[in-house]
Amino acid sequence: MELPPPRKRAIRSNALGIGIATGAYGLSFGAISIASGLTIWQAQALSVLMFTGASQFALVGILGAGGGIVAAVLTAWFLGARNGLYGLHVAPTLQLIGWRRLVAAQLTIDESTAMAVAHEDTPAASRHAFWATGISVFVLWNIGTALGAIGASLLSEPEILGLDAAIPAGFMALLWPRLKDRLSWAVACAGGLVALALIPVTAPGVPVLGSALVAVAAGIWVWRRA
Protein backbone atom coordinates (compact mmCIF):
# COMPACT_ATOMS: atom_id res chain seq x y z
CA MET A 1 0.00 0.00 0.00
CA GLU A 2 1.31 3.49 -0.94
CA LEU A 3 1.19 6.22 1.64
CA PRO A 4 -0.55 9.49 0.70
CA PRO A 5 2.17 12.13 -0.01
CA PRO A 6 1.00 14.60 2.69
CA ARG A 7 1.36 11.96 5.39
CA LYS A 8 4.76 10.97 4.02
CA ARG A 9 5.90 14.60 4.13
CA ALA A 10 4.62 15.04 7.68
CA ILE A 11 6.52 11.95 8.81
CA ARG A 12 9.71 13.09 7.09
CA SER A 13 9.65 16.58 8.55
CA ASN A 14 9.00 15.11 12.00
CA ALA A 15 11.92 12.73 11.50
CA LEU A 16 14.17 15.60 10.47
CA GLY A 17 13.18 17.59 13.57
CA ILE A 18 14.00 14.66 15.83
CA GLY A 19 17.30 14.21 13.96
CA ILE A 20 18.27 17.85 14.51
CA ALA A 21 17.45 17.66 18.22
CA THR A 22 19.52 14.48 18.49
CA GLY A 23 22.34 16.14 16.57
CA ALA A 24 22.63 18.56 19.49
CA TYR A 25 23.02 15.57 21.83
CA GLY A 26 25.68 14.30 19.42
CA LEU A 27 27.54 17.60 19.69
CA SER A 28 27.80 17.23 23.46
CA PHE A 29 28.67 13.54 23.14
CA GLY A 30 31.60 14.40 20.87
CA ALA A 31 32.83 17.13 23.22
CA ILE A 32 32.44 14.98 26.34
CA SER A 33 34.30 12.09 24.66
CA ILE A 34 37.32 14.32 24.07
CA ALA A 35 37.13 15.65 27.64
CA SER A 36 37.11 12.00 28.83
CA GLY A 37 40.33 11.23 26.96
CA LEU A 38 39.06 9.66 23.73
CA THR A 39 40.35 10.66 20.30
CA ILE A 40 38.12 12.12 17.58
CA TRP A 41 38.15 8.76 15.77
CA GLN A 42 37.18 6.85 18.89
CA ALA A 43 34.22 9.17 19.50
CA GLN A 44 33.16 8.80 15.88
CA ALA A 45 33.54 5.00 15.94
CA LEU A 46 31.17 4.86 18.92
CA SER A 47 28.53 6.94 17.16
CA VAL A 48 28.71 4.79 14.01
CA LEU A 49 29.11 1.35 15.58
CA MET A 50 27.32 1.60 18.93
CA PHE A 51 24.70 4.21 17.98
CA THR A 52 22.70 4.22 21.18
CA GLY A 53 23.15 7.43 23.14
CA ALA A 54 22.91 6.42 26.79
CA SER A 55 25.31 3.48 26.31
CA GLN A 56 27.80 5.74 24.52
CA PHE A 57 27.70 8.42 27.23
CA ALA A 58 28.08 5.73 29.90
CA LEU A 59 31.04 4.07 28.18
CA VAL A 60 33.03 7.29 27.82
CA GLY A 61 31.99 8.59 31.25
CA ILE A 62 33.19 5.45 33.02
CA LEU A 63 36.40 5.19 30.98
CA GLY A 64 37.08 8.88 31.66
CA ALA A 65 36.57 8.35 35.41
CA GLY A 66 39.10 5.50 35.37
CA GLY A 67 36.46 2.79 35.73
CA GLY A 68 38.20 0.32 33.43
CA ILE A 69 36.88 -1.47 30.37
CA VAL A 70 34.93 -4.26 32.10
CA ALA A 71 32.70 -1.86 34.02
CA ALA A 72 32.40 0.48 31.03
CA VAL A 73 31.40 -2.28 28.61
CA LEU A 74 28.99 -3.99 31.04
CA THR A 75 27.21 -0.70 31.81
CA ALA A 76 26.89 0.06 28.08
CA TRP A 77 25.38 -3.40 27.54
CA PHE A 78 22.92 -3.05 30.44
CA LEU A 79 21.77 0.32 29.08
CA GLY A 80 21.38 -1.15 25.59
CA ALA A 81 19.22 -4.09 26.71
CA ARG A 82 16.01 -2.15 26.11
CA ASN A 83 16.82 -1.92 22.39
CA GLY A 84 16.22 -5.70 22.17
CA LEU A 85 12.65 -5.18 23.32
CA TYR A 86 12.24 -2.34 20.82
CA GLY A 87 13.33 -4.72 18.03
CA LEU A 88 10.83 -7.26 19.25
CA HIS A 89 8.10 -4.64 19.02
CA VAL A 90 8.90 -3.21 15.57
CA ALA A 91 10.04 -6.40 13.78
CA PRO A 92 6.51 -7.69 12.94
CA THR A 93 5.58 -4.32 11.34
CA LEU A 94 8.85 -3.92 9.46
CA GLN A 95 8.74 -7.48 8.07
CA LEU A 96 12.34 -7.54 6.94
CA ILE A 97 14.69 -10.25 5.74
CA GLY A 98 18.38 -10.32 4.77
CA TRP A 99 20.63 -7.28 4.92
CA ARG A 100 17.75 -4.84 5.49
CA ARG A 101 17.07 -6.57 8.78
CA LEU A 102 20.73 -6.15 9.79
CA VAL A 103 20.56 -2.43 8.99
CA ALA A 104 17.20 -1.96 10.71
CA ALA A 105 18.61 -3.57 13.86
CA GLN A 106 21.37 -0.94 14.06
CA LEU A 107 18.75 1.83 13.66
CA THR A 108 16.54 0.42 16.45
CA ILE A 109 16.79 3.07 19.19
CA ASP A 110 14.46 5.16 21.38
CA GLU A 111 13.60 7.70 18.67
CA SER A 112 12.97 5.38 15.69
CA THR A 113 10.90 3.02 17.84
CA ALA A 114 8.84 5.84 19.33
CA MET A 115 8.04 7.18 15.84
CA ALA A 116 7.17 3.70 14.51
CA VAL A 117 4.86 3.15 17.50
CA ALA A 118 3.23 6.57 17.02
CA HIS A 119 2.15 5.55 13.50
CA GLU A 120 1.16 1.98 14.30
CA ASP A 121 -2.40 2.50 13.02
CA THR A 122 -1.05 2.21 9.43
CA PRO A 123 1.73 -0.35 8.88
CA ALA A 124 3.12 1.50 5.82
CA ALA A 125 3.29 4.76 7.80
CA SER A 126 4.90 2.97 10.73
CA ARG A 127 7.59 1.51 8.46
CA HIS A 128 8.21 4.89 6.84
CA ALA A 129 8.44 6.56 10.26
CA PHE A 130 10.95 3.97 11.49
CA TRP A 131 13.29 4.32 8.51
CA ALA A 132 13.01 8.10 8.15
CA THR A 133 13.69 8.67 11.85
CA GLY A 134 16.43 6.04 12.08
CA ILE A 135 18.33 7.43 9.10
CA SER A 136 17.83 11.07 10.07
CA VAL A 137 19.03 10.46 13.63
CA PHE A 138 21.97 8.31 12.47
CA VAL A 139 23.24 10.95 10.06
CA LEU A 140 22.75 13.97 12.33
CA TRP A 141 23.99 12.19 15.48
CA ASN A 142 27.21 11.36 13.63
CA ILE A 143 27.64 14.87 12.20
CA GLY A 144 27.03 16.26 15.71
CA THR A 145 29.60 13.88 17.18
CA ALA A 146 32.23 14.93 14.63
CA LEU A 147 31.64 18.66 15.18
CA GLY A 148 31.61 18.31 18.98
CA ALA A 149 34.77 16.18 19.02
CA ILE A 150 36.67 18.44 16.65
CA GLY A 151 35.54 21.54 18.55
CA ALA A 152 36.54 20.16 21.95
CA SER A 153 39.89 18.88 20.68
CA LEU A 154 40.81 22.47 19.79
CA LEU A 155 40.57 23.41 23.48
CA SER A 156 43.58 22.94 25.71
CA GLU A 157 41.93 22.40 29.11
CA PRO A 158 38.29 21.22 29.06
CA GLU A 159 37.94 21.66 32.87
CA ILE A 160 38.21 25.44 32.51
CA LEU A 161 35.04 25.40 30.44
CA GLY A 162 33.28 23.16 32.96
CA LEU A 163 32.97 20.23 30.55
CA ASP A 164 33.30 17.81 33.48
CA ALA A 165 30.12 19.35 34.91
CA ALA A 166 28.39 18.83 31.56
CA ILE A 167 28.67 15.04 31.99
CA PRO A 168 26.35 14.58 35.01
CA ALA A 169 24.00 17.16 33.46
CA GLY A 170 23.90 15.04 30.30
CA PHE A 171 22.97 11.91 32.27
CA MET A 172 20.33 13.90 34.16
CA ALA A 173 18.83 15.02 30.85
CA LEU A 174 18.69 11.39 29.69
CA LEU A 175 17.12 10.29 33.00
CA TRP A 176 14.58 13.12 33.29
CA PRO A 177 11.95 11.91 30.75
CA ARG A 178 12.06 8.42 32.33
CA LEU A 179 10.97 9.73 35.75
CA LYS A 180 7.30 9.41 34.97
CA ASP A 181 5.81 7.68 38.03
CA ARG A 182 6.45 6.88 41.69
CA LEU A 183 8.16 3.58 40.84
CA SER A 184 10.70 5.19 38.51
CA TRP A 185 11.46 7.92 41.08
CA ALA A 186 11.96 5.27 43.76
CA VAL A 187 14.25 3.20 41.52
CA ALA A 188 16.25 6.30 40.54
CA CYS A 189 16.71 7.39 44.17
CA ALA A 190 17.65 3.88 45.31
CA GLY A 191 20.03 3.42 42.35
CA GLY A 192 21.69 6.77 43.09
CA LEU A 193 22.04 5.99 46.81
CA VAL A 194 23.55 2.54 46.15
CA ALA A 195 26.07 4.13 43.77
CA LEU A 196 26.93 6.86 46.30
CA ALA A 197 27.48 4.29 49.04
CA LEU A 198 29.72 2.19 46.78
CA ILE A 199 31.99 5.04 45.56
CA PRO A 200 34.46 4.95 48.50
CA VAL A 201 34.54 1.16 48.88
CA THR A 202 34.73 -0.14 45.31
CA ALA A 203 36.80 0.50 42.18
CA PRO A 204 35.51 3.27 39.86
CA GLY A 205 32.83 1.84 37.57
CA VAL A 206 31.50 -0.69 40.09
CA PRO A 207 29.08 1.77 41.80
CA VAL A 208 27.11 2.16 38.55
CA LEU A 209 26.99 -1.61 37.99
CA GLY A 210 25.85 -2.08 41.59
CA SER A 211 22.81 0.07 40.92
CA ALA A 212 21.69 -2.42 38.26
CA LEU A 213 20.77 -4.75 41.15
CA VAL A 214 18.21 -2.16 42.27
CA ALA A 215 16.54 -2.37 38.85
CA VAL A 216 16.55 -6.19 38.95
CA ALA A 217 15.07 -6.27 42.46
CA ALA A 218 12.42 -3.66 41.61
CA GLY A 219 11.62 -5.46 38.34
CA ILE A 220 11.06 -8.75 40.18
CA TRP A 221 8.97 -6.99 42.81
CA VAL A 222 6.70 -5.43 40.14
CA TRP A 223 6.41 -8.78 38.32
CA ARG A 224 5.44 -10.63 41.53
CA ARG A 225 2.79 -8.05 42.40
CA ALA A 226 1.26 -8.14 38.93
Partner: protein, 103 residues
Protein backbone atom coordinates in the same frame (compact mmCIF):
# COMPACT_ATOMS: atom_id res chain seq x y z
CA UNK B 1 42.44 -0.37 25.71
CA UNK B 2 39.87 2.26 24.76
CA UNK B 3 39.49 0.65 21.31
CA UNK B 4 38.86 -2.73 22.93
CA UNK B 5 36.09 -1.20 25.06
CA UNK B 6 34.59 0.49 21.99
CA UNK B 7 34.58 -2.68 19.87
CA UNK B 8 33.33 -5.01 22.64
CA UNK B 9 30.72 -2.48 23.73
CA UNK B 10 29.48 -1.90 20.18
CA UNK B 11 29.38 -5.62 19.34
CA UNK B 12 27.27 -6.31 22.44
CA UNK B 13 24.83 -3.43 21.93
CA UNK B 14 24.39 -4.45 18.27
CA UNK B 15 23.64 -8.05 19.26
CA UNK B 16 21.06 -6.77 21.75
CA UNK B 17 19.35 -4.84 18.96
CA UNK B 18 19.51 -7.81 16.57
CA UNK B 19 18.16 -10.30 19.11
CA UNK B 20 14.80 -8.52 19.07
CA UNK B 21 14.55 -9.10 15.32
CA UNK B 22 15.73 -12.71 15.34
CA UNK B 23 14.44 -14.44 18.47
CA UNK B 24 10.81 -15.56 18.51
CA UNK B 25 8.70 -13.16 20.57
CA UNK B 26 7.77 -15.86 23.09
CA UNK B 27 11.37 -16.16 24.30
CA UNK B 28 11.86 -12.48 25.20
CA UNK B 29 8.37 -11.14 25.61
CA UNK B 30 7.87 -11.99 29.28
CA UNK B 31 6.53 -9.54 31.88
CA UNK B 32 9.60 -10.01 34.10
CA UNK B 33 12.02 -9.24 31.22
CA UNK B 34 9.96 -6.18 30.32
CA UNK B 35 9.83 -4.78 33.83
CA UNK B 36 13.55 -5.29 34.49
CA UNK B 37 14.63 -3.94 31.07
CA UNK B 38 12.38 -0.90 31.58
CA UNK B 39 13.86 -0.08 34.99
CA UNK B 40 17.54 -0.74 34.14
CA UNK B 41 18.10 2.62 32.37
CA UNK B 42 16.45 4.47 35.28
CA UNK B 43 18.72 2.93 37.94
CA UNK B 44 21.89 3.10 35.82
CA UNK B 45 21.36 6.68 34.64
CA UNK B 46 20.63 7.82 38.21
CA UNK B 47 23.82 6.08 39.37
CA UNK B 48 25.77 7.75 36.55
CA UNK B 49 24.43 11.18 37.60
CA UNK B 50 25.56 10.58 41.19
CA UNK B 51 28.97 9.10 40.32
CA UNK B 52 29.82 11.75 37.74
CA UNK B 53 28.76 14.50 40.17
CA UNK B 54 30.42 13.32 43.38
CA UNK B 55 33.20 10.85 42.59
CA UNK B 56 36.83 11.86 42.16
CA UNK B 57 38.45 8.48 41.82
CA UNK B 58 37.30 6.69 44.98
CA UNK B 59 36.78 9.87 46.98
CA UNK B 60 33.41 11.57 47.39
CA UNK B 61 33.79 15.29 46.83
CA UNK B 62 31.42 18.23 46.57
CA UNK B 63 32.61 20.74 43.98
CA UNK B 64 31.44 22.92 41.09
CA UNK B 65 29.88 19.89 39.37
CA UNK B 66 27.08 19.83 41.97
CA UNK B 67 26.20 23.46 41.28
CA UNK B 68 26.21 22.64 37.57
CA UNK B 69 23.83 19.73 38.16
CA UNK B 70 21.48 21.90 40.23
CA UNK B 71 21.29 24.46 37.42
CA UNK B 72 20.75 21.64 34.89
CA UNK B 73 17.78 20.33 36.91
CA UNK B 74 16.23 23.81 36.96
CA UNK B 75 16.73 23.99 33.17
CA UNK B 76 15.03 20.60 32.77
CA UNK B 77 12.09 21.73 34.92
CA UNK B 78 11.77 24.72 32.59
CA UNK B 79 11.72 22.27 29.65
CA UNK B 80 14.92 23.67 28.15
CA UNK B 81 16.40 21.77 25.19
CA UNK B 82 19.27 19.31 25.79
CA UNK B 83 22.03 21.62 24.62
CA UNK B 84 20.85 24.43 26.92
CA UNK B 85 20.78 22.01 29.88
CA UNK B 86 24.36 20.88 29.21
CA UNK B 87 25.69 24.36 28.51
CA UNK B 88 24.08 25.89 31.61
CA UNK B 89 25.77 23.23 33.78
CA UNK B 90 29.15 23.77 32.12
CA UNK B 91 28.96 27.56 32.30
CA UNK B 92 27.88 27.47 35.97
CA UNK B 93 30.86 25.27 36.89
CA UNK B 94 33.26 27.34 34.82
CA UNK B 95 32.06 30.62 36.39
CA UNK B 96 32.25 29.30 39.96
CA UNK B 97 35.82 28.14 39.30
CA UNK B 98 36.80 31.38 37.60
CA UNK B 99 35.73 33.48 40.62
CA UNK B 100 37.30 30.94 42.98
CA UNK B 101 34.11 29.91 44.81
CA UNK B 102 34.34 26.19 44.04
CA UNK B 103 36.93 23.67 42.96
Amino acid sequence: MIWLAILLGAAGTYLEKLIGFILPATVLDRPIVRSIAGLLPVALLAALVIVQTFATGQAVSVDARLAGLAVAIVALMLRAPFLVVILSAAITAALLRAIGVAA
